[in-house]
Symmetry: D2
Subunit: 344 residues, 4 copies
């Protein structure tokens, strides 16, 4: 059994990790920590877990000491020290935060107003999108788990981008996220009477996930990608729908795209390319690690409309982290992640 | 592996059974049927199941023939023939409908406007509430799976009723159900723009589940119970909250009640008696087979307020059916039902 | 034109008052204040009001000075001083808070942990439920506007209680409120991802509104009333549904009740007694000052089930306050309150 | 008083017209009709209207005969005959359906599979977007009231398009609509348990409103416009958010855009251009005729992101129809439409 620990277990990503790890057949959830709730049982914070995870929140050091793999779901900036600590103790570290996602320090500075404390450590970090970078992840010790939007958008576009069927310049990613993406901390924005029956965009063309998705699309295509990213907040709990627009290269047809998408993802358990006529819906991947992708073409405008749906807390956070852990430890990649999404 | 089949698999209870049985380690989902969708893959009806259950709906006879245990989720009146068919072929039959729940034929006639086709068959039926009637269920072949409200209300009151701490006359059960309880068929009532942001009661003191919960409370107490049952429809998907009011017998205290409740349910994996101060919430049992129970006393009025929360589709339907199957086949009672309810 | 002002205009009740007063033909909204947002335009706090109420929040003294009538929506304890200030300046004061609702100081102390600063002032206060105490309200200068639950419950029961058709002992009021009842301040409880798809009770048989509704029912019946009051929080924005249970006196029939209810409320513009078979729904009174009342009888248990629906922010707060203002100033009672509730 | 009638009063647009016309000071709602509910009181269909509009649904002929202005909210194809009937009787006809919106018959055929029965009549029709075509509407007798999406998108882009600051080719309109846009008829898609907590696109780049918005943008710009239109369905009742992307012409800056937008809409009561930093939200225009517009620039991509929010049932249907009626009859354009949108 792998001994797993979570630093920042009382945030939403941490709590979702608890749910998934409790159901993982090769993992023993060994320790959890939380700055805000040290000394409190997790089930006091999340009564859903009563009787299932009454473990008391310890401190970070305890988690590092007791566990083989440490997951962290922390505000940005705080993971770097923890990563160093894990490295020093030879532990596997899977970071759900943003500290190790961007390879370029200048970009990190520009968007996160911080520095790379240890540049060597950053070089060891692997970007954990298994469907694209599987071989690099296996056996590594420092994994930068992707963000939610930055999982959804490349998933929608990868087959077209890898096969040079669309331009990677001028991509538009109109994304809509459920409210768990805002985290656990209450705010006026997420106060029920104000968010309920509302719908709006935020950080229009000015969100930190933009350089991260550009980085992935650039890697996949081998060409510098640019994205206009507009996130919106949906009055639902879970899910991201990414509606992505990309200019088709000369002569590319919908049929061709469909074949390329199906071929690209055919061995991927978690990716479901929908048949012609179907449209991806966040409902259908809820509480699961699946990514549903549907493709549509506006022939008049010579435009690909690629839509992906993920659960932002699973494939967009905790589920992908477990998938990465499985790869790191040489387990079956889908282990602990084969739950059926509820139909309603 | 037990070969399991579902008759009426495209209704909500049937579809939820599919979700649970796919995750059951000792069950192979072998055949499903649907009158409305014969010949159609289940994943066309429920795209959440794409790639996970693309099984095509067959007819009822096929299900009976191929399977060891047949679950049925049918409109009332239709299960009796199927039960006979299963009995004739020596198959285990677990009925999620109402045909075999009421022991008294006159009551059945009064509320369901039907008859017992085969009175002998009705005598063999066991009412499948494992927490109360576990020993009667084991090894039986015809199980009447309880209704949703009729699970929630007795769960809230059983310890008090069994121990004669409250009067079983004049009980009030003010219940609130999520909309999956209305079934899959669209109606004006469940049309999104009309149900959203609404809240109302229905069938006030005139709902078919009333005699069924009275039957259970009567059995548990050994005294004729009477309940005023008022169901309400909540604009959420899943869950029943049953707020039950019962007059305390002379001298009964909250402490005493708390001890009795904790003792009564202490070996029940699926029942969580909440600590003083906590209140049951449908959120905390969502997608799981748990029953959360909280108790409160209005000393001024000498009244017990017992509140239970279940997921109407799991403990109130499909989950309890699987629990019954486990008992019938001598498996661990919790097998396939230990999923952690999502915290959000 | 009446010059109206609001102290505490940025809370939900205050903001709803703004909406109503802007549409009132005989009122000029003259000044508003807010401790938290002094110096800020109301439309910055509530962008819905942009261009319609860009008035800047001033301080309390300014409001009292400039206005003929002062509405206050303040945390309990803070209205007493303001009431005194209004009295000293000869202004009409309509208090949406709890400070003047309870006539008995001991009860106030027990539930609000405060005192009556000026007992004389309390004697001058009139409890502002126009349907019941209309004549006492006219021309008065200090109005205690009722709470939300404490409007809904007596509205459901008054005709039966006044006419001694039910016992006023042992009443059960199982109430469900929308989330605007929690106020504007964010909290974990009202954080969208946690409240959405949840449903629970709170302050079970221990809520401050209980003595207030008992006071009203006692006045109406002339007998000491006792209520077990259990509030629940609904994941919708607006509305209270009060499901009230009262024991019928010997020989009282549903027909008789229906006649009494219709007669009692026949001249009340805002009260709609629903025809047999219909059930009150919060949806149908949304954003309006209406009270829908439906009555049902459980003959078996000899129980009246009376259900009322109000919009907690209108009839349960700001609308009733305007209705009181109309009475105080001798205007048509319905003025500014005849908006049609949206059908969806 | 203008005698107004509604043909198709029990659909959502018709019912919303009832709400608005009941509050209009110069209108008497004189007759309504409904094929499905002839002989039934409107308040039986919409209990919100009980006591406010208990008018019984008559037939179409009665409405035409009794009224000065006839509004119709009918499935496409059915308005043409009614328009003729109104023309023959000299009545004003305001059509909320699609029959008279498209000027080009071939386009109509392609998208609606119908013909122009009377080409002369079509020539008399005026497209009723008051903010753009006010002068053409005044005094006319046949008004084609725009669709919902086709109001939202041009409203977001008009100032930029009219002033040639963006290309009208390659526009992307990623729109999200509340569920009242699906109409009153229940369907699997709008069945509460399935739509709740879902989010998806539909008719991707293949929706009938596309040619209509292209027609408006072409008229406004004087150049052939082309739009890729992707509608999505939001699990809320009311509102459309249109997130529109258009390529900026050389050298156009955000400041310049902001000035142009403010100047363009400065005399428009119903249009609120939001200040820098604010983002349009459907919540803030709910139940009102307002259009909130926010503009954003992605400098990197040289792209305008213009976002508009309307209530699809008001500015997107019934409200705009009343605005058109006011213009036709020479009334104050905002009459009956100055309600304050509720803040929550």
């Amino acid at each position: 059994m792998i001994k797993a620990g979570i630093v920042g277990a009382t945030g939403y990503a941490g709590a979702e990790l608890v749910r998934l790890l409790l159901g993982h057949p090769q993992v023993e959830l060994t320790a959890i920590s939380s700055v805000s709730f040290e000394g409190t049982a997790l089930s006091e914070v999340y009564p859903s877990y009563r009787g299932l995870c009454d473990m008391v929140c310890a401190d970070q050091d305890t988690v590092v000491e007791k566990c083989d793999v440490i997951f962290a779901a922390l505000p940005h900036g705080l993971s770097q020290g923890l990563a160093q600590q894990c490295a020093d103790h030879g532990k596997v570290f899977i970071d759900l935060g943003a500290d190790f996602r961007l390879e370029d320090e200048e970009t990190y500075k520009a968007w996160y107003d911080g520095e790379f404390d240890n540049k060597e450590l950053h070089k060891q970090a692997v970007y954990g999108m298994p469907e694209f970078f599987r071989d690099e992840i296996k056996g590594k010790k420092l994994i930068a788990n992707p963000g939610c939007y930055t999982t959804a958008v490349p998933m929608a576009l990868a087959p077209a981008v890898v096969n040079h069927l669309v331009s990677v310049q001028g991509i538009i990613a109109d994304c809509k996220s459920g409210t768990t993406g805002c985290g656990r901390k209450p705010s006026q924005r997420t106060h029920y009477p104000e968010l309920n029956e509302s719908f709006s965009a935020y950080k229009v063309a000015n969100h930190r996930h933009c350089p991260e998705m550009e980085q992935t699309l650039t890697k996949l295509s081998g060409q510098k990608a640019s994205v206009t990213f507009v996130p919106h907040l949906l009055p639902i709990n879970r899910g991201i729908l990414a509606t992505c627009y990309a200019r088709l290269n000369e002569g590319v047809t919908e049929e061709q795209l469909r074949q390329v998408y199906e071929a690209f993802y055919k061995d991927e358990y978690f990716v479901r390319v929908l048949p012609k006529g179907a449209v991806a819906d966040v409902k259908h991947v809820r509480c699961s690690n699946f990514v549903d992708v549907s493709i549509h073409v506006d022939e008049k405008a010579n435009l690909l409309v690629a839509i992906s749906a993920i659960d932002n807390m699973v494939k967009g956070a905790a589920g992908q982290a477990v998938q990465n852990m499985n790869l790191v430890f040489g387990l079956e990649e889908t282990m602990g992640l084969t739950m059926v999404p509820p139909a309603f």
